[in-house]
Every structure is written in C-alpha cells, then in structure tokens.
C-alpha cells in the first residue's frame, strides 16, 4: 500500500505521459523492425555498442530539454561538446590525469553555463541569440586549443566508457535517477513553473533567476561531459566532432514533445526521441541507404511523428 505522498507523486508522473503515446508507439514499431532485420542486436555485446552510439545524443537531448523547459533554447550544444572533447583530451595528459580532466570539464561546464545563464536570466537577453553567438565563440576556442584532432584519452578510460562493458547503459540509468531527484526539488519543479508562467512563478515566490541559472549550468555540464564521452569513444579530442549534435538535440526534444515556449514536455519524451533517431540511423545504415537519403527520411519521420498528435486533435475537433 502506497502512502498518500507516493500516490500523489506517481500519479503526477504517470500523467506526464499524456501526448507521448504516438511517439512511444512509433518507437516500438521501429525497435521491432530493427530487431527483426538484425536479430544480432539482442546480444549483450551488440546492445552495449548500440547504447554507446545512442548515448551522446541522449545526453545532449537531455541538456536541451532542461533549457527548453524553462522557455529557452541552446544553439551551442554541438560546439560545446566539441570543446568538451578537446578539453578532456588535452588535460588528461597533465599531472592530475583523469581527475584533472574531470575537474577541467566541471569548470568548463559551470563557467559557460553561468555565463549564458547570466545573460539570459539576469540580462534578459533572448536565449536564441546568446547561444547562437556562443556557438561561434566555442567553436573558435576549440579550434584554437586543438586545430586538428589530437590529444589523448587514457585507454583505460576509453575501455571503461566505450569498451565492451555496458557502462553507457548504467550511466543512462544513473542520469535518469538523478533527473528524477532534481525534478522532485523545488528548483526542478520550478523549471516547468518558470517556463509556463514566469511572472506567476515570480509572484508565487519562486526565484526565477536561480531556476534559470541552474538550468543553464546543469545543461552546460551535461554537454561538457558528453564531450568527454565522445573523446573516450575515439581516444582523442576533435574540435568539430560535436557539430551535428546541435540539431540532433533540438530534433530529439521536439520529437519528444518538448515545446519551444517552455513548460511543456518531459525528459522521457526527449530520451525516447533521441532513441528513435538512433534506431533510424542504424536501420538505414545497415540497409545501405546513401547518407543523403538518410537525412531526408530522418526529417520526414520527425515531421510525421510530431504531427500525429496534432492530426488527432484536429480530427477530434472536427467530429
């Protein structure tokens, strides 16, 4: 028998699935197709590899969602991941080794997040402009530090994160648990309140500035550590490796029902969205579709999935 509090909590959580039915359905269909075409994926090792491929997209989708929930957006995700990979690959050679790299990434994520947060939350600049400008700055800095791929990530770390172990899967589970905990704090609930009605949240005594600041800092840290993961995958840093992730993050969030106006959507939607895109890419890759066709199909499936609920509402209204 659940207590009153737990009942309320889980009921609220359950209701956040509203509107995600279509996405979950499409996801299951494609997962089944994928498993049907390539039964080998069901083995532990292959599954671990698949999750490793998905993991960076999942991370940046989560980072984008945190910001979008507050009514903002982040266009600098890709360059930030690149910079993260560059910083990781150049600091881990230093005297502090892996620890030094982790500290450097924490400083990078917190610093960049605080700067964006200060502009958006305190200066009231539009997030789209701040992060667009930032994307150029970060790209430039990454190229200054490391004009071409290089640096070094300890093989032990590469093996741990992106080797044959299902580490990525465990990290994802950990990420989800931490997110659930954060969303159960006043700051976490504040994300949605601020995105929905910033003025009302302020009048209710929510510190809108703190909520937005922490959102940008959390998001930037997720992006920086995605950079570490990507560097571990390749064994070196690459100043341009994150580029496709900006649009992938936004696409996954939108696919997952996260709204541009704030307040709307849930992390599970964005994660499901990024998973669907990963499966699609894999299916099309194995089917030997040319890269250009892959982009077209990806775009069409995003539009189709996003319009499913819209079509349903307009049908309901018409009847």
């Amino acid at each position: 028998m659940l207590g009153q509090g737990a009942r309320l909590y889980w009921a609220i959580q359950w209701r956040r699935n509203e509107g995600l039915g279509a996405l979950f359905l499409v996801l299951v269909v494609f997962a089944v197709i994928y498993a049907g075409l390539f039964p080998g994926i069901l083995a532990v090792g292959a599954m671990a590899k698949f999750v490793q491929g998905w993991f960076p997209t999942a991370m940046v989708a989560a980072a984008e969602t945190i910001v979008m929930l507050t009514g903002g957006i982040d266009l600098s995700v890709g360059p930030m991941v690149s910079l993260g990979s560059v910083v990781a690959a150049s600091t881990m050679q230093g005297p502090l080794g892996i620890l030094g790299g982790v500290l450097a990434l924490l400083a990078l994520g917190t610093g960049v997040g605080a700067i964006v947060g200060a502009f958006v939350a305190i200066g009231r600049y539009p997030a789209i402009i701040v992060t667009l400008a930032l994307s150029f700055v970060l790209r430039g800095v990454a190229l200054l530090i490391m004009p071409r791929p290089g640096g070094f990530v300890p093989p032990s770390l590469s093996e741990f994160l992106a080797g044959s172990h299902p580490t990525a899967a465990f990290l994802l589970v950990l990420l989800i648990i931490l997110w659930k905990l954060y969303q159960a704090t006043p700051l976490g609930i504040g994300l949605i309140a601020v995105g929905d009605n910033a003025e009302g949240a302020y009048r209710s005594g929510v510190s809108v500035t703190t909520v937005r600041m922490s959102a940008y800092i959390l998001s930037a840290n997720l992006q920086a550590f995605t950079g570490l993961y990507v560097a571990a995958q390749t064994g070196s840093g690459d100043p341009l490796i994150g580029e496709p992730l900006t649009l992938a993050a936004i696409a996954a969030a939108v696919l997952g029902g996260v709204g541009f106006l704030g307040g709307q959507g849930a992390m599970r939607g964005a994660l499901a969205g990024s998973l669907l895109m990963s499966i699609l890419i894999n299916v099309m890759f194995f089917m030997g579709l040319p890269l250009v066709a892959q982009y077209v199909v990806q775009g069409l499936i995003i539009v189709a999935t996003v319009s499913l609920p819209l079509i349903r509402t307009s049908l309901r209204r018409a009847s």
């Binding site: 309320l8 609930i189 005594g205």
Partner: protein
C-alpha cells in the same frame, strides 16, 4: 476603528510608469478580521496598489507598512513569508504542473532538499476540502476550465496560511455555486482574524460583506470610509465623482438618420444577441467593463473573428449591399469598414517602418501589383498627415513618435480608404490630454463628413460628451442603449455594473 493596529498598510505611496503617475499619495490600512473593499474604474490604479502591497512592485515614494513598521523593499518571497497572499486576476498558475504542485509552488514542504509529497498532499487535501475542490490533485491545471483554475488560485493563497488575503476580482470567472463557496470561506477567514482586501466590480458583493471601502480615482484616494449607509448608487457616485474638464468639443449631433449598418441577433465569441444600427454622421459609443463582449462585438463586425447574425445589412448609398457578416477583414475593408485597434504598438503600426509607409499600408491591399509612384504617395500622406495634425519628418520610423502621435498615425492611415464606418477601439488609452483633444476634434470632423464612427472606450467621460448614443455591454449583452441626454457617467457605470433602476438593487445575479 483606528484603535486596532493595521496588519498591512500603505502610507502615501506613489508610483509612476514611464513618467505617467498611476498612484498619487495613496494610503490604505488593512486590519485583522475586517473585509476591506477597494473600488475604482479600470485604470484607476487598483492593480498597481495590490502589486505594491504584495511586493511585486516597489513604490517610488511612501512606505509599505507591516504591523506598523515600514518595510524597506518587499519582495514576493518576503511577502509570502509575512503571510501576505494575493489572488490575482491574471492567474499565477503553471498549466503544465499538477493542482497540488501549483498550490504548493514557492513554499513546498521539504525533506533533505526534496519536496515532501506526503506533507504536500496532506496540506493540499485539507484546503481542497474547504474549497470543495473535487478534481484529482495530480491533474494538470491546464486541463481545468477557467473558473476552476480560479479556485486553485485561491487554494494557493490559502496554502501559505495568510494573515492578509488580497482578492482581485476573484468572482469574475466563477460560477454561482463557486461564488457561494468563496463567500462562505472569506467570512470564515475573517472570523479567524485574517485581514482581507476585496476588489470586485460586483457592487452587491461589496455591499453584502465588506465593512470599509477605499475608492481610487485616477490614482488618488477619493473616499476611505465605512460602507454602512451607502447604497449601490452611493458607491457609483464615489467612483465617478470628478469635474468634467474643458476637454471635449461642444456637442452637436451630425447624425443624418440614413442607415449604414444594421444587424439583429449578432453573435461573435463573447458578444451575444446584439441588435445594432448605425447611421451616417453618427458617433456611437460602446461602454462596459473590460471583457464583457464589447471587443468581440467589434472584432466580429469587421470580420476578424467568426460572427453570426439573424440579419446583417450594410448600406451603400441607401441600398442594402450585403446580407451576412464579413468573413475576412479584407471584405470589411472593401465594404468601407475600417478598424483602429487599441494596441497601436502591436496591431496598429509597423513600428520600425516610416510614418509614410504606415500611412500607405491600407492602400497597398487594393494595389497589390501596381508600381508605386513616389509623387502620388507623398501627396496622399501629406493630406492624411494634415487631417490629424501629424507634424515633423514623416520618414522617421513610427516608433520615434510619442504614444499620442502614434495613435494619430494609426487612425489617419485608414482615412486613405475613405471608409464609411470607422470602428475605434479605445483610441485615447494612454494618450496625453492635448492629443486626446485633437482626436476628439478629428472624430467630430469625420462625423460631420457623414462617416459613421463607433467608439469603444474605457474612458466614460468620452462616451458622455462625444457620443450620440451609448451602448453599454454587460455579460456579453447590451445592457442599455442610452441617447445622449440620458448618457451620464452614473448611468453608464451603473449599466456596466448590472445595476438597474436605481435606487433598488436588482437584476444582478450572484
């Protein structure tokens, strides 16, 4: 009174926005266990006063007093901590959060940094019971109809166990049973010693259960007295009482009696069953409290929102030319009906573009593929600028103009089409006195030319001094149509409030 210490008060507070004074030296005292009414017309400064008392805004001068002590800079958080709760007209709810999370927002019980959903559920359930809030507490607020959201808003105020409760028109969107529940609750809170500030346009509610009233008029307190001995008409007099300044041109009717527009059983969104006729040369006023259907009526008339009517006729040269409401704004414009919106900055003008360009805009619709001819355009804009006395370089962007001059541009641009009917939505809102007078003169001149003018206004004296007839809306219907001689401020405000046939109080359903 006066013996008891005020829990919350203001001492000669003033507040101005962009140099426009909104409150001047206003004082008010809220005492424990007393329901205090705050009255005033739209724009009298009530909302600003509430925002000062709740820490959302800070006064330019004067003090906010809590338990008699001035508080240097009150923030909403501090106000919460001091037990000051506000139920605003504009809801402070987050539609995507659940009822329970909304009620607790800003003051969640916590255990180790995490929201304690157990204690939250218990506290919210108790309030929900008191307010007869039967919806499941995990439901997203966005799923509730507006009236029920208002109940959640009230629950949110109760959640912080307030010592002071400020209610800003809490009943305007409530159904009758919900109003009854709220009334019962407010009385119970008073008996528990809560100080209550009650803002409402429903005079019978105020007479029913408030003890003291403060009346605001143009940002100043015009009355601060016990309610005993005042009737609805007494209240209306307190709200209106001012000397009509020498602002209006002398009244002279130019109405010709030749119909230009006639409709029966007209409906559009919030406007219900409006019978309406308009003559050439007439200035017809539309009054009523904000949101009682008058804006919808206007928007329906010129095809901006869907409208239906049993009968609808537009006359051109005395011949009925049309039998159904307009489906699009372009159709209405083509038939000689133009609309000047209230929000000139968003709807009336393209601010970054030149005054000339703005003036020409309505003409472009009918000349979509014609080549533009500079000389002809200059002649047109020259003429339009003269008609409303728009001075200075017209190549400046529209945003360089003051509010009043922007309004003149937004109005005169339609004159290029030589419309036969001009619909004006609150043309003098936020406009300085001098420009107001110019606009009044222009309206008179248009009427003299035989155009029909429909003037929707929140400024009651305009309706009294300018209009040949005044239609007053209440709850979406025309509550009264007053000819010029009967259209006093008292009569208009009374009709807008649903007070009929003074001095008895009838016809106002609670």
């Amino acid at each position: 009174m006066g013996v008891q210490q005020a829990v919350l008060g203001a001492r000669s507070v003033s507040k101005a926005f962009f140099g426009n004074p909104v409150l001047r030296e206003v004082s008010i005292e809220l005492v424990a266990g007393r329901i205090h009414a705050l009255l005033g017309e739209n724009g009298a400064g009530k909302s600003t006063l509430i925002n000062l008392l709740s820490g959302t805004l800070r006064p330019d001068s004067g003090d906010i007093l809590v338990d008699g002590h001035p508080i240097a800079s009150l923030t909403p958080q501090e106000a919460h901590a001091l037990g000051i709760a506000v139920v605003q007209q504009e809801l402070s709810l987050a539609p995507h959060l659940s009822i329970a999370e909304n009620i607790g927002l800003g003051a969640y019980p916590r255990r180790g940094g995490i929201v304690d959903y157990g204690r939250l559920a218990a506290a919210v359930a108790e309030i929900a019971k008191e307010l007869e809030l039967i919806e499941p507490l995990d439901m997203a607020v966005g799923r509730l109809p507006l009236g029920r959201r208002q109940i959640v808003e009230i629950a949110k105020a109760l959640y912080i166990k307030p010592r002071v409760l400020i209610l800003d028109e809490p009943t305007s969107s409530l159904s009758a049973p919900d109003v009854a529940i709220l009334m019962k609750l407010v009385r119970r809170l008073r008996d528990r010693g809560v100080a209550i500030l009650y803002i409402s346009h429903r005079l019978n509610e105020i007479l029913d259960f408030c003890e003291t009233v403060t009346v605001l008029k143009d940002g100043s307190v015009t009355a601060d007295r016990p309610l005993a001995g005042l009737g609805p008409n007494g209240l209306v007099r307190l709200m209106v009482g001012r000397d009509p300044r020498n602002l209006f041109p002398p009244y002279a009717s130019r109405s010709t009696g030749a119909l230009v527009l006639e409709t029966k059983g007209f409906r559009a969104a919030g406007a219900i069953d409006v019978d309406f006729e308009l003559c050439r040369g007439e200035i017809l006023g539309i009054g009523g409290l904000v949101g009682h259907g008058q804006e919808d009526f206007m928007m329906g008339l010129y095809g901006a929102i869907r409208a239906e009517a049993e009968e609808f006729r537009v006359f051109a040269d005395g011949v009925a030319a049309r039998s159904a409401p307009f489906a699009t704004v372009a159709e209405a414009n083509a038939a000689g009906i133009a609309y000047v919106p209230a929000d000139r900055r968003k709807e009336g003008l393209l601010l970054p573009h030149s005054i000339d360009f703005n003036l020409l805009l309505p003409l472009f619709a009918s000349r979509s593929l014609e080549r533009r001819r500079g000389v002809e355009e200059t002649a047109i804009t020259e003429r339009l600028a003269q008609r409303l006395n728009i001075r200075g370089d017209r190549r400046r962007p529209a945003q360089a103009l003051s509010g009043g001059n922007q309004q003149k541009v937004a109005l005169s641009k339609w004159l290029a089409l030589e419309p036969s009917v001009l619909l004006l939505n609150d043309p003098t809102r936020g406009v300085d006195v001098e420009t107001k007078r110019e606009i009044y003169l222009a309206l008179r001149a248009m009427a003299a030319e035989g155009k029909a003018v429909v003037l929707l206004s929140s400024d009651t004296p305009e309706l009294v001094h300018l209009c040949d007839r005044v239609m007053v809306f209440n709850k979406g219907r025309v509550a009264a149509t007053l000819p010029h001689v009967e259209a006093s401020e008292e009569a208009i405000v009374a009709a807008a409030m649903g007070v009929r046939n003074a001095p008895t109080l009838e016809g106002e359903p609670v």
